[in-house]
Symmetry: D3
Subunit: 228 residues, 6 copies
Amino acid sequence: MQDFFASDRPVLVVAPHPDDEVLGAGGLMARLADAGRAVHVAVVTRGMAPDFPDSLIETVRAEARRAHAHLGVTETHWLDLPAARLGEVPHGEVNAKIGALVRDVAPGLMLVPHVGDIHLDHQLIFLSSLVAARPHQADYPATILAYETLSETNWNAPYLSPGFLPQVFADITQTIDRKLEAFAMFESQVRAAPHERSIETIRALATLRGGTVHRAACEAFVLIRHAA
Amino acid sequence: MQDFFASDRPVLVVAPHPDDEVLGAGGLMARLADAGRAVHVAVVTRGMAPDFPDSLIETVRAEARRAHAHLGVTETHWLDLPAARLGEVPHGEVNAKIGALVRDVAPGLMLVPHVGDIHLDHQLIFLSSLVAARPHQADYPATILAYETLSETNWNAPYLSPGFLPQVFADITQTIDRKLEAFAMFESQVRAAPHERSIETIRALATLRGGTVHRAACEAFVLIRHAA
Amino acid sequence: MQDFFASDRPVLVVAPHPDDEVLGAGGLMARLADAGRAVHVAVVTRGMAPDFPDSLIETVRAEARRAHAHLGVTETHWLDLPAARLGEVPHGEVNAKIGALVRDVAPGLMLVPHVGDIHLDHQLIFLSSLVAARPHQADYPATILAYETLSETNWNAPYLSPGFLPQVFADITQTIDRKLEAFAMFESQVRAAPHERSIETIRALATLRGGTVHRAACEAFVLIRHAA
Amino acid sequence: MQDFFASDRPVLVVAPHPDDEVLGAGGLMARLADAGRAVHVAVVTRGMAPDFPDSLIETVRAEARRAHAHLGVTETHWLDLPAARLGEVPHGEVNAKIGALVRDVAPGLMLVPHVGDIHLDHQLIFLSSLVAARPHQADYPATILAYETLSETNWNAPYLSPGFLPQVFADITQTIDRKLEAFAMFESQVRAAPHERSIETIRALATLRGGTVHRAACEAFVLIRHAA
Amino acid sequence: MQDFFASDRPVLVVAPHPDDEVLGAGGLMARLADAGRAVHVAVVTRGMAPDFPDSLIETVRAEARRAHAHLGVTETHWLDLPAARLGEVPHGEVNAKIGALVRDVAPGLMLVPHVGDIHLDHQLIFLSSLVAARPHQADYPATILAYETLSETNWNAPYLSPGFLPQVFADITQTIDRKLEAFAMFESQVRAAPHERSIETIRALATLRGGTVHRAACEAFVLIRHAA
Amino acid sequence: MQDFFASDRPVLVVAPHPDDEVLGAGGLMARLADAGRAVHVAVVTRGMAPDFPDSLIETVRAEARRAHAHLGVTETHWLDLPAARLGEVPHGEVNAKIGALVRDVAPGLMLVPHVGDIHLDHQLIFLSSLVAARPHQADYPATILAYETLSETNWNAPYLSPGFLPQVFADITQTIDRKLEAFAMFESQVRAAPHERSIETIRALATLRGGTVHRAACEAFVLIRHAA
């Protein structure tokens, strides 16, 4: 059966910080890459001294490169806005950077963080991504999905911040192991259970999201727009 | 571009009363039929004396047959539950009737009324449709969309009943005229403007829903589930 | 640290059908029983012929008895309203049956199904439980929590039916195994993965709910009321 | 300043049970009656034996008559549907009774109970009132407001049932005392503090709702529709 | 029939950028001006070089002047905060500018953009308008309505950002043509169909909003507060 | 009966401006202090010239000291971020200041302002408080409650901003008088009725929140998280 992951246009995954894209959509990225789609990742922010030591920044970036290669990512775009300081950057600048990339990549499918995540960077990037993808001319991303990020999505305020109640389930039975391997490559970021950023919790989430639609493993998304 | 209307499995449109399916999805039905998909309509209720005169019931049914033929409907299923009295029918019976049809038709795409419509029949059929489509075995409708019904969806209580805030937009530029013709065939049901059930309002809604995604005419839907 | 599971008053778990209470709160029930609290279960409905064969009903009931014993349940109350037909029972009668039990048991903590579950029985029992626990005199259940039920809570309509976004997390690290054993005793009800009612999915849910608050395993709840 | 209570058309207050209308809108009713508007009350249900003793029913009805006279009510309409059993009455019948009254009274302003109240009768009457007031011809009630009922509105499930978050505040500084007197006439229904149905709580609510808009006393409402 | 547009106090329409006020409330502005009310417009932002060329800014401003004259606007107030950069302006400064105008104009009715619009300027101006209109003394705007803006309101995230579900419908049958003429005067801003900012879409929206309450054309609003 | 206020760990009340903590939780603070718990208050902002005259700042601070002493506060922490300018402070700095305090105090119970309050400072402090209390290691505040602030919580936009619909009710029958006395000590902040910041309205709110759970006086809260 064909489905809305079946387009042959590029995919753009917008990640506030390296590893968000793997936590939220690593399995789908691998599946789409396997199917021959071009998969682009935009890493919007960059840790900057003195908030983050330079050595850590290089480490994480190297980890991301390995993980992306493992998942079959076509190209990673480093937008280099300051991590954890996005509220201090003019909103128009974030819009412009993501907007330029949307024009260049011309994705058919766009995956964005969830506006209800506890991290302000995630909230601001969500809004800028929607601005960048506005349907104000004939061509724009036909499908926009918000992904969930362990250690962000479940830590905001139930019923007061926007809830993550997914309607879209992507079968990742074939790629869940590759997703876990890719996340494990972020050695500086992975945590031991019972932390939410642990391999065990990531696998549990995939099992649960899969069970909801009778599949062995899924990633779940909230649909923002699908025009077709 | 391929999309989630691109499956080759049958489509099942669940209509509480004849003409709801045309108001909510007549353009998409015609588009999918043109593309070679089998399009089934389930008319769940039947007006019954003394609530409704027999002559009217036959008239509406004949109108529906003409309209469905005009839109390319493959088959219309009359479930014959009592119109405007669905609250008096055991919930399990409604579930069973729709469930049997889902098993027979095995749709890939299911279109259902919106749970926030003001008509209790719509609310109950929404719930029964979801029960019938539960993903409790490997095969089930991959996509469920709720459609909007002029004269029902806008007349419930804003912010207190479930709101209709669509994320899915189906381009019906090629079939909007056929939709309007099909609705005009319901001579007993069409109303003069400014009634919501008028040709003018249906066209205005299609123009507005189209404009939202830069298309000449669209039908809009709320996504309930998409698994792929 | 003391907490709101620390009262010495009885606990009442309201289950629409046998096994809902184990899916939703089996781990907490065992933990509270271990701590010396009286744990009561009310099984509100009974499958009835011809909807359900008599043999199945007896089987499920025997399974429930074993499971409850394994979890340390003090007493199981069979309210014997007709399963899957609660919409046909006068609302006042459901209120009255649950109300009488609340008066008899005088629970300090009450666990109820979630109003957003896809099963109409769950929705109606939620409302009747709240009616039964109204604070219209000095004494009433101080704490009411809604539990989640795999195969019910995730199958309703995201954003249109009430969402389950938990704020209360009960640590069941010590009792998760007992919960899984108790559910396995429902041999007629357990399903193979990837069904949501499988041992694998129940464990995944516990791992996820635990990870959210840095614990190995949790059950999660939505708070309805806490007065203290 | 003129306002939307300034029309000269009749007012219709829909009360599930006698005294709901006084709790929710007694002050506004008196104010509008003082201003010369015709104020109609529809008491939708009647307690019936054996649920309610005949003597109590007559008592409450007599209390309602006194209270209504005190508030300046033009006419009280007793619809005599069975109290606490509205779920057993065909939905179409409730619609029809309220619909007939709306046609007869032709109100410009309609006050209805809140759909989020814990009492099922309130929920059903809310829906039927909206059906009765549908804008499907040129004339219909221009304004519909939902009122709050102490002992009903605050006892449902926060965030899961529809919340009461008022936007409309009616100044009842001149009539709050009359409202309290009218409620006190329901000797069989008034409760001692700290019950929500006490004089003290009613006054506290009026003070709070007033304070929100810098007035000594207000009644607050949720707007359902205003067309003008 | 009198209504809440019937006060004789001034009206204040808060527009983030020139033409928002016409898209959202141009028909009502003309109707109220015709009825003799003073209609004030506050244009909160001003495009500034280098984001916007000076020539464009003058053009738009001249267009706004013509459009306002056509609609009968009493006075236009240019607050000159930087367009698309409101997030960089201290919140207190926006509050202060709008607050000063509210004190000067002393409006009875205030029309503001919708907080759920996709443009951050709209969101921030909504909040500042509410701060400016707080009921912390005896006099304040009795009625606050949020209007919808084509190309802003429909492009945010359904169910995640605040939805626009109107309860207030203003009949603009007499002024819809003048509204369209006024918008056409914004020659630099009008777009060809099927863009949302086209004459066709504006008319379609008016027809739809009208049909919902059986009128030929309406503008629709969400009520924020009405105190009377 | 024990309850979730029964822990022996410290309490931390986060107040955007002095007196918010008394309005929202003064009664509970006194009750917990009486019960021997350490009660800490963090006053996050400080009025600064020229927005606020120095004399006023000293006055308010002295008032707060008296009020806190009257309520039995253990220690008041002045974080000295600029009042009404929190949007201009880097988000990470607010997170860091509150985060350091959470580490030092190690509270079991944390009381925070409501994210739906109309004051931007309240919204930002809510988010920073949740960031500070993230469960990303074994120890963190087990319980987080949002309190309501008269003159802030009721003045935002119903249904568009996050609503305050409390599930937690703390009995303050024994301490309501002390709360009112403490608030009266803020002579520069208290207002005459019918302002929301008046003694009369504070008492009315306590009576209403109490009545909802059959107590003479309560403070009400929205639960953000309880892990136990």
